[in-house]
Homo-oligomer: 238 residues x 2
């Protein structure tokens, strides 16, 4: 068994205290040895949340009807709120938000461009899959931050609900047009590679370190299992 | 003197109580005889605020650097907050938000398309000019709503500050590149026609009524004066 299993976070002692976020409660493995310095973590994660916002607001603009625009605008507001929570942490550390985020902008924009999708359905599916996967990932990566920063970052990433509304919008769209399923299933499978590369780019890896790769593997296995469950709930085969 | 002057809202009695919104405090003429039914007012104004959000979030996506993305994302959040305030009023009246907004979607989207701008600078200038003009307009139109709805709609439209941050972003861009001035001045002048048509489309007008036109004229004269002041503050000749 690899050493990071023993150093993993202890489970909450009181099982009667229900966690508000089951994804966090279920965490068994984390990435804390590969977590970058707080400044780099916050700059990358905040820049990424700006692109989450851009991705969702693009879907707002392309939505066919007011009902979908309205539902997606609430998702955009939540993404912005999480972004602001991360920026608040940057400010608390007396760092300049622009300087901290700027080095990560090109990478996250390129990721956004590659995962944008060709039409509205693909755009919503992209938001659901990539934001879901990467939020799971950054929650695990936050385990390696200094205690106080970790608590606040985890709180910022848990604000509101992105998964529920995006799932509901896709579910309605697929119910209205079942032929979407096979195309969206393919599209979501296509997204996993770019999304894993984006996640990996946030890790502090020693070149050629077999130990680092051993740490990554079980985490990515878990993240892909969550990704598969996310698509299963939509009736899409991952 | 036209009759609506006499029926205009009385000025606040206590001059020591400073208004938080000088545009409202300075209102001398309003449009209350031309205000549509509350349901139509709310549907149109909420749909318009969705497009304000889309317009600003488009500018977030196209912004050259993190600093501008960050500043514009705060503007987008404020536009969404105003939208939510209008939707809350729709819900309070037990109306279905989608049905109430849907009839206005095509008109506001066409307006958005025509005023989008060819590059980021024009996009920000469009947001500044069209949102500024139309917010002034809808504030005056709200004067004709039933008392309670009017108070809440005026409060929703006054949430946060859109004008200040958009002005600041444009001011910095022009300072960094003074040659922008002449092009943006032309673009902003070009926007006035479409913006006035969008405003006019919200009025309840009797076909060929000279009296209706007489009511509109002084209001639009005021709105254009505010538009000119908005551009003057940026050193742009309207």
């Amino acid at each position: 068994m690899a050493p990071w299993f023993r150093r993993s976070r202890p489970r909450p002692p009181a099982p009667t205290l229900a966690s508000r976020d089951t994804a966090v409660a279920a965490t068994r493995v984390d990435l804390h040895e590969l977590t970058p310095a707080t400044e780099i973590f916050l700059g990358h994660c905040a820049a990424l949340h700006l692109t989450f916002f851009e991705q969702v607001s693009h879907a707002v603009a392309n939505a066919p009807r007011v009902a979908e625009k309205d539902a997606l605008s609430a998702v955009a507001a939540t993404a912005l709120e999480r972004y602001r929570g991360l920026v608040a942490e940057i400010e608390r550390l007396k760092l300049d938000r622009s300087s901290v985020m700027e080095p990560h902008l090109r990478g996250v924009q390129e990721f956004e461009r590659r995962t944008m999708g060709a039409d509205w359905h693909e755009q919503v599916a992209s938001a659901h899959v990539t934001i879901g996967f990467l939020t799971d990932f950054w929650m695990r990566l936050a385990a390696g931050l200094p205690r106080e920063a970790r608590d606040r970052v985890e709180a910022a990433l848990a604000v509101g609900d992105l998964e529920g509304p995006l799932h509901a919008i896709l579910e309605r769209a697929i119910a209205a047009n079942p032929r979407l399923s096979s195309r969206l299933a393919l599209w979501c499978r296509r997204l996993v590679g770019d999304t894993m590369l984006q996640a990996r780019s946030a890790l502090t890896l020693r070149a050629g370190s077999a130990r680092d790769e051993e740490q990554i593997e079980p985490v990515f296995t878990e993240l892909i299992a969550e990704h598969t469950r996310r698509l299963d709930r939509l009736g899409l085969t991952a």
